[in-house]
Every structure is written in structure tokens, then in C-alpha cells.
Symmetry: C2
Subunit: 227 residues, 2 copies
DNA sequence: TTGAAAATTACACTGAGTGCGATAATATTT
DNA sequence: AAATATTATCGCACTCAGTGTAATTTTCAA
């Protein structure tokens, strides 16, 4: 019983990127032409199973703690075999990590959709705010708490911030390719990811008292004032 | 065979903090009064064993790769039982991580020994440079390469940077307690750790062509120019 | 010397993750 | 519709990391 109780949204997970992005099997649907892709039975089942695994995992992590939850528990609760679990996720930890790993790409995508004449830092801020706004605060807090309960997961989460920073930097450089400013862009990427970290930490520390958007703007304002 | 070959210093490891810093058993010697602490047989043996384990681990990681090296291999090569390994290290990965984890404390310590009238950023830079100067470049590169060969170790390494940042921030705040500047100190800690990361990455990428000190100053200069 | 503390070990156990191969479900082609 | 390919599911056996326990030996201190 490491992490227990937990209030709001839990049966209606939302911004889950899906599993196995780095593995090879799922996460690459047939993709019909366009308009009415039809989505196929297989697709639907796959996503349902993915969802069932994720929900079962999170529920059990909350109920019994991360370490005390075995893969057999999760598989049983999700109605699949232990072996099938590994068809969807590379590891137990990836249940939680998969909810975080898509962030980097989402931010980069949002950055690209930003008006052409925006200043770099404003563009980054807008992209991050836009992405974070789509994630329910309750989910964010629950996931964050669970991640803290396992050192390995926590470490991988922090490592993913480094990935985000790298991806962000590359996206920035692609858009503002002036070599003179490369260092500045690197600094901005650091700063932006730092602001995300600060906001996320504060959100968890406060238990969701203030909305993540406010915390993000606050962090950006504070750091921007010092630059 | 993930990571193979490896040139220079390997039998003469140096900046190893020792094991189990977070566990509970070793790493807390009886500590004689002062002057000639006498060091005791027990101490000496403990450190020798620690060294044997570390050297055996690193050698095997290089020879056969991180994953292909089992704890039995390491224990056998170090002349101890498998069970005794866990008396010295919490996990296989900690062999590598222990070489990194002491950095934070060393930097904080060096920061405290800095002249009283130094500017924060200069103090940080001096502290980091001082600590990094004590670590042989060859060791740094080998360790870094090994760490990259295991995703878990790599993640934990990056997580340790976050710890360093936090420790650094707290040390700074302790010395410049003005609440007005708290955000700036946080930014400086981010920046400093970022500079370390940049320098360390470049060192590995270049294979040690330029000394770490130069790279550090370069990174600090570049980032400082943008602030 | 004697008794406490620390170090070493064996043994047995849990649980994560993998390789292999079989079978069933879905999709695609003819 | 039947044949064929692809994908999903599963079981089994295996390796290996890591832990709990308890016994034994080595070092230290009184």
C-alpha cells in the first residue's frame, strides 16, 4: 500500500498515447484512405485491450501499490494472459510511462502549428500550454503520484524530460535555423522543460488546487523575467 | 557485446564514492578521532571488496556487454558470493550509478568552500569545474559509454542530474537566502546542470579530444552570454 | 578472552521478462 | 465461399535480478 486513495477521473482515461511506440508491433494501424477509415474490428479490439490493461494497471497500482501488483494481477484483471501483456507493453513500468511519452511529440506538433511570426519563447509556451490543457488535472496528479512511488518509473519519467528537451530543441532549430542562435534555442528548450517540471511538481504538491495552465504561465513568467 | 574495447585507465578507478549510499549498511566508517584514524582491517577489506566488485563489473560490462553480464559473473570475478554482492550494492546498475551519484554532494561541498564575495554563477562554475577536474577523462568516457548501453542506467543517470539540480538549488538558497532571488537561483541551478550535461555529452561525442574543463567553460560561457 | 557488531555465505523463493511454438481470430485474396 | 496470410492470444519452460532468512565466520572493543 504505497499509493492509495485518489479521487476523480479514473475510469475515463484520456490522453493515452497507446503502448509499444518503441517496440514494433502495435501502434501502427492500417489507416484507411481518409474520411471514413472504417477502423476494423481488430483495431477496436486492440484499443479496448490496451485500455483494459492500462485501467487495470492503474487501479491495482492505486489499490495495492506498484511493487505489490504483479503482472499476473494485471493480466487477470484485464482478462488476458500474462504473455499477452507483453504483446502490448514492453514492461510493467511502461503502463505508466506510456501516458507520458507522447508528450514530447505532441508539443513538437503543437509548436509547428504556431503562427509564423511568433517569437521562439512565445511559441514554446503556447505549444506546451496547448498540450497540457488537454490532459485532465486529476489524471495528471494520480499518474504523477504513482510514478513517484517507483524509483525506476520516476527515473524514466525524468529521463523522458531530457528527451522532450532534445526534441524541442531540434524542432526549434528547424524553424529558426540561424546557427548564431543555436545556443539560445538550446537554452530556451532547457528553460521550457524546466518550466514544465516546475509546474508539474507544483501541481502535485498542491494537489490540484490551482489549474496546471496557471502554474505553467507562472513558471514561464518567472523564468522569463530572469533571462 | 554492446560496448567493447576501451583504452586507458581501468585498473585504477578513482572518483568512486562507494556503494550503498542510499541503502544503510556500508559507507559509514567508524571514523577514528582525527589525524591518524588507523583505518582498521575491516575498513580496508570493505573498500578492497568494493573496488574488486566495481572493477570486475566494469571489465565484464566492457567485455560482454551490460545485459549479457550476470550477477554470478560479477560475483565470481570479484571473488565473492552472489549474495554478498547485494551487501555492497542495491542492484547491478548501481555499480555504474555509484560512480555518478556522489557528484551532487561533491559540488555542493565545493560550492561552500568558495570565497564569500563570489557571484552565484561564478561560484557554481568554480565548484563544478573543481569537481570535474578530479575525474580522469578516460574513466568518464568509459563509464558514460557503458551507461548509454543500458536504458535503465541511462534513465537513472539523467534522473540523477535532476537530483543534482535540486541539491545545487538548495545550497544556493542557503547561501543567498533572499526570497526575491529564489527564482533566479533556480534558473541558475538549471543552467549549471544543463551546462554539465552539455559538456559531458560533448566529451563523449568527441571521444575526449578536448578536456572536460574546456568544454565546461565553453558551455558556461555560451549559456551565460544568453542570460 | 569474551561478547557485540559486521561480513560472508547457502538456500529457497518471488516475480519480471524472453524465446519458442501452437492455436485461434481477423483480414485479404482468389 | 474457400484458401491464404496476418495478427492476436496463449502456455510452457527458462534465465536472471533481487529478497528473506538464518547460519557461520571474521573483526572489533571492552
Amino acid at each position: 500500500m504505497d499509493v492509495a486513495e485518489g479521487r476523480g477521473g479514473l475510469e475515463k482515461r484520456s490522453g493515452a498515447t497507446g503502448g509499444m511506440s518503441a517496440n514494433g508491433k502495435p501502434d501502427a494501424p492500417p489507416e484507411g484512405p481518409q474520411g471514413a477509415p472504417r477502423e476494423g474490428l481488430r483495431e477496436r479490439k486492440r484499443r479496448e485491450t490496451l485500455r483494459r490493461i492500462t485501467d487495470a494497471g492503474i487501479r491495482l497500482f492505486i489499490e495495492k501499490g506498484h511493487d505489490a501488483t504483479t503482472l499476473d494481477d494485471i493480466a487477470a484483471a484485464a482478462g488476458i494472459s500474462r504473455r499477452t501483456f507483453f504483446y502490448y507493453f514492453k514492461s510493467k513500468d511502461d503502463i505508466l510511462l506510456s501516458l507520458q511519452s507522447g508528450l514530447g511529440d505532441m508539443i513538437v506538433a503543437a509548436l509547428r502549428e504556431t503562427p509564423p511570426d511568433t517569437r521562439p519563447l512565445d511559441a514554446i509556451r503556447a505549444a506546451i500550454v496547448k498540450v497540457c490543457a488537454t490532459i485532465p488535472a486529476d489524471d495528471m496528479i494520480v499518474i504523477d503520484r504513482l510514478m513517484r512511488s517507483s524509483p525506476t518509473v520516476q527515473a524514466r519519467k525524468q529521463a523522458s524530460y531530457v528527451q522532450h528537451e532534445q526534441a524541442l530543441f531540434e524542432a526549434l532549430r528547424e524553424r529558426w535555423p540561424d546557427p548564431q542562435r543555436e545556443t539560445r534555442l538550446r537554452l530556451l528548450a532547457m528553460l521550457a522543460v524546466g518550466a514544465m517540471r516546475l509546474a508539474s511538481d507544483t501541481l502535485s504538491r498542491e494537489g490540484g488546487k490551482r489549474p496546471i495552465i496557471d502554474l505553467l504561465h507562472e513558471a514561464f513568467d518567472a523564468l522569463e523575467a530572469e533571462i
